[in-house]
């Protein structure tokens, strides 16, 4: 393998932060915090009973329900995460919406909402209790409570880390300031407070981010020019998928190698479209809670559909910035800037990461004031994401874990008090989770992992319960539990390396090392370390022990190591001095052999592990995702699909051999036994089915347009 020239000297911007705020930006951020707290104090008087604290009094209009439904999910994890996805996987990133979210949301509105609404459940686990009994509810309640605090912890940590990287703010201060604000307003106002802030955040995220695609497209010279640049730069930026098509939605899904994700249409449609998205949108209580509290069934359905329409627009501020990142971000010398995965050794040392793509564009286009708005939108997104999770956690904990398992007969006031306290505990546990969650390569992939552990099995169980009255309590319980165990098993399987996983060989030069660089045509061709110390990982060194000083005559380290998963040796030099000058330099390079002068001190380590949560074993992903080329996202999608299959099979099999509930216990819970209330006269423009049909028509058109 020849040295890879593009990896050389991609400098991280001069200072340590990406963005610098002017006073006016800070004023904008402070005003936001004041506003949020004011809303919390204002709403306290409306949140005194259980129904009003946990369910916002079931008084919410369709528009508020729809906006809050969408923005509970349109957090900054989503804007940054999915623009990172688009940077990584090209236009395929938009499938999260175009085959994923929209069909699932329409299905929720038309098919599932009547059952949720008519059963008057207060949560999705609550529905499971009505339909299948305590067992399924407890598993769902506990797993959901666990999942929400993990996700909200991940979101908080991500926020703090991002604010630190972007603005140089202290991580701990960010985490605590934002979390305490959330704790205050959710504890005061309950769900209503969370919903208010979500609607507010919807406007802030859109108005703070929309300028980026507009200015970006002007900068790139229009849509067609942007696509041409994306395709040209992607081959350089993502060398492992050089021949993949980054600019289409479906054309490139015919085989596993023609697209950057290593997936085919089957995995996309059934894994992402059916299993993961339906699970996420139809049974994730965080989402469903937003619309089951609407004032009547028609508002709940229309609110959900309003959400679908808004969701269809989200790729404009999410996928488009990711593509623009591929097109317009250049190094000072004009070569495309290479961003790397969070788990890459070069991340944050010599290279920015995928997750930085949106902030990089913000710094590029947004001047004073606008930048404050963009950052506020981002903070608002994190905070309202956390608020949504915390209020959902408080509801599920109080009603589905605490009430049935710990204290059956309490007064309404007692449960409201419990709700307020569990909001605070939820925030504290998420803070603890935040500190524990560092090792996943991509923020969103972590979310996906949790989604397919719990949400996909939950969807299988709920949907069978709604549509098939023969499904028995035992069937529902075992189907659900087996599918959770199978998805955890699959996760373990793809990260297991029977022969040991050896991370990419790496050499790190310590600060102050002195090097000689020889360049030909501007490309580094030879690198010599004259003095200083360095650490190596998994690089075989002729005649060297774990720690030694290079003897007379010097040593040459190879540029590639045979037998390693990634053979090219990575050389990282975050802070070195060029020999004969006083110039310091930082760079990263791959696949270049390295000469060590006598006297250089070397610490050599060999790392090999049986289980590596950040790495995927291609020999194992072959069985799950049907291709050894599958990227993490592809593996997650296929895992989701298999766990849905397992859930349905087990539920059906166990149901056939166990006793079903009698019909009269299933009234209002199952299709065929649920009389729809007469909604009264309905003007045509309020008919949910009409709007659902219109949304699907537009969706098909969009898919064909970007085919």
């Amino acid at each position: 393998m020849s040295p890879v020239p593009f990896a050389i000297a991609t400098p991280v911007a001069g200072t340590d932060r990406l963005l610098s705020l002017s006073p006016i930006d800070l004023v904008i951020i402070v005003i936001y915090f004041i506003m949020v707290l004011a809303i919390g104090f204002y709403l306290k008087r409306f949140a005194s009973t259980g129904e009003s604290f946990f369910m916002a009094g079931r008084q919410i209009t369709a528009w508020v329900a729809g906006l809050s439904f969408i923005s509970a999910n349109l957090s900054s994890l989503e804007t940054m995460g999915w623009s990172a996805m688009a940077y990584q996987y090209g236009m395929l990133g938009a499938h999260a919406y175009l085959i994923g979210a929209i069909p699932a949301i329409v299905f929720l509105a038309i098919v599932m909402m009547p059952f949720y609404y008519i059963s008057r459940t207060h949560s999705v686990p609550g529905y499971l209790q009505l339909r299948y009994g305590e067992g399924a509810r407890s598993v769902a309640g506990i797993s959901f409570a666990f999942m929400t605090v993990m996700v909200s912890g991940a979101s908080m940590f991500a926020m703090a880390k991002i604010l630190n990287l972007l603005l140089g703010w202290n991580i701990h201060v960010s985490i605590w300031a934002a979390s305490l604000t959330v704790a205050i307003y959710v504890t005061l106002g309950g769900l209503l407070s969370a919903v208010f802030n979500e609607v507010l955040q919807f406007f802030l995220i859109w108005l703070g981010t929309l300028l980026i695609p507009i200015l970006g497209l002007i900068d790139a010279g229009g849509w067609t020019n942007m696509l041409a640049k994306v395709q040209a730069h992607a081959a350089v930026i993502h060398p492992t998928v050089q021949h993949a098509d980054f600019t289409s939605l479906w054309r490139n899904l015919g085989s596993f190698d023609s697209n950057p994700m290593g997936i085919d249409w089957f995995g996309m449609v059934f894994g992402l479209g059916l299993a993961v998205s339906f699970g996420y949108w139809c049974t994730d209580f965080l989402q469903v809670q937003r619309v089951i509290v609407a004032k009547d069934l028609r508002s709940a359905q229309n609110g959900t559909l309003i959400g679908a329409v808004l969701k269809m627009a989200v790729p404009i501020i999410v996928t488009l910035p990711g593509l623009l990142g591929l097109a317009v971000l250049l190094n000072p010398d004009g070569s495309p800037m290479v961003l790397v995965a969070e788990s890459d050794a070069r991340a944050r040392i010599t290279h920015h990461t995928f997750n930085d793509v949106l902030p990089l564009l913000m710094g590029r286009y947004l001047g004073p004031g606008l930048l404050g708005l963009g950052v506020t939108g981002m903070i608002a997104g994190f905070m309202s994401g956390m608020a949504g999770n915390v209020s959902a956690f408080a509801t599920v904990w109080t009603y589905d874990v605490y009430k049935p398992l710990l204290k059956k007969l309490g007064s309404d006031a007692h449960y409201v008090k419990m709700g307020r306290w569990s909001s605070i505990v939820g925030v504290l546990v998420s803070i603890a989770a935040a500190y524990a969650l560092l090792w996943f390569s991509n923020i969103l992939e972590f979310l996906q992992v949790l989604v397919f552990f719990f949400i996909v099995p939950l969807f299988g169980t709920v949907i069978l319960g709604m549509l098939w009255k023969r499904a028995t309590p035992a069937g529902g319980f075992w189907g659900f539990v087996t599918a959770i165990l199978v998805s955890m098993g699959m996760w373990g399987f793809v990260h297991t390396f029977p022969d040991g996983y050896r991370p990419q060989p790496k050499v790190t030069l310590s600060a102050g090392a002195v090097v000689t660089l020889e360049k030909t045509d501007g490309h580094l061709t030879r690198l010599t370390v004259e003095q200083g110390t360095l650490e190596t990982v998994n690089v075989p060194i002729p005649g060297g022990g774990p720690s030694f000083v290079v003897p007379e005559g010097g040593v040459t380290l190879p540029g590639t190591v045979t037998g390693a998963a990634t053979p090219a040796v990575q050389v990282l030099a975050p802070d070195v001095r060029v020999s004969g000058t006083n110039a310091t330099e930082k760079f990263g390079v791959e696949g270049l052999s390295l000469t060590l002068a006598p006297g250089v001190r070397v610490t050599a380590a060999t790392i090999s592990s049986r289980f590596a949560p950040a790495a995927f074993n291609p020999a194992h992903t072959r069985y799950i995702a049907r291709s050894a080329k599958a990227k993490p996202m592809a593996v997650n999608m296929y895992s989701g699909w298999w766990s849905l299959v397992v859930c349905v099979l087990v539920t059906v099999l166990v149901s056939l051999f166990t006793r079903p509930k009698p019909d009269h216990e299933l009234t209002n819970l199952v299709m065929g036994l649920t009389p729809l209330p007469d909604p009264g006269p309905c003007p045509w423009y309020q008919n949910p089915k009409l709007w659902a049909a219109a949304i699907i028509a537009v969706l098909v058109a969009v898919n064909i347009m970007f085919w």
Binding site: S22, I24, V27, I28, I31, Y32, M35, I39, Y42, L43, F46, S52, G57, Q59, I60, T61, V64, L192, V195, F196, V199, L200, F203, L207, L211, L215, I218, D219, K295, G363, R364, Y365, L366, G367, P368, G369, L370, G372, L373
Partner: protein
């Protein structure tokens, strides 16, 4: 929302108006001292600030608490 006296749209209107005024101000200042960003010549801040003021004013007016009570 029917059960709170001041509706959510009012809060949004006020916040957007305030932001709009601040950003327009920054945009006007930017006419004389262009910020160090790409495409500064388009004065995006000025236009966006005015847009925010417009949206904010519409929401504020449409959801004034005194107006709703009538």
């Amino acid at each position: 929302m029917t059960n709170t006296r001041v509706s959510i749209w009012f809060f949004i209107g006020v916040l957007l108006t305030v932001y709009g005024v601040l950003i327009t101000g920054a945009g006007v200042y930017g006419l004389a001292h262009p910020p160090a960003v790409k495409l500064a010549g388009l004065h995006a801040g000025l236009w966006w600030g005015l847009l925010l003021v417009a949206i904010g004013a519409v929401y504020t007016y449409a959801s004034l608490p005194t107006r709703r009570q009538r």
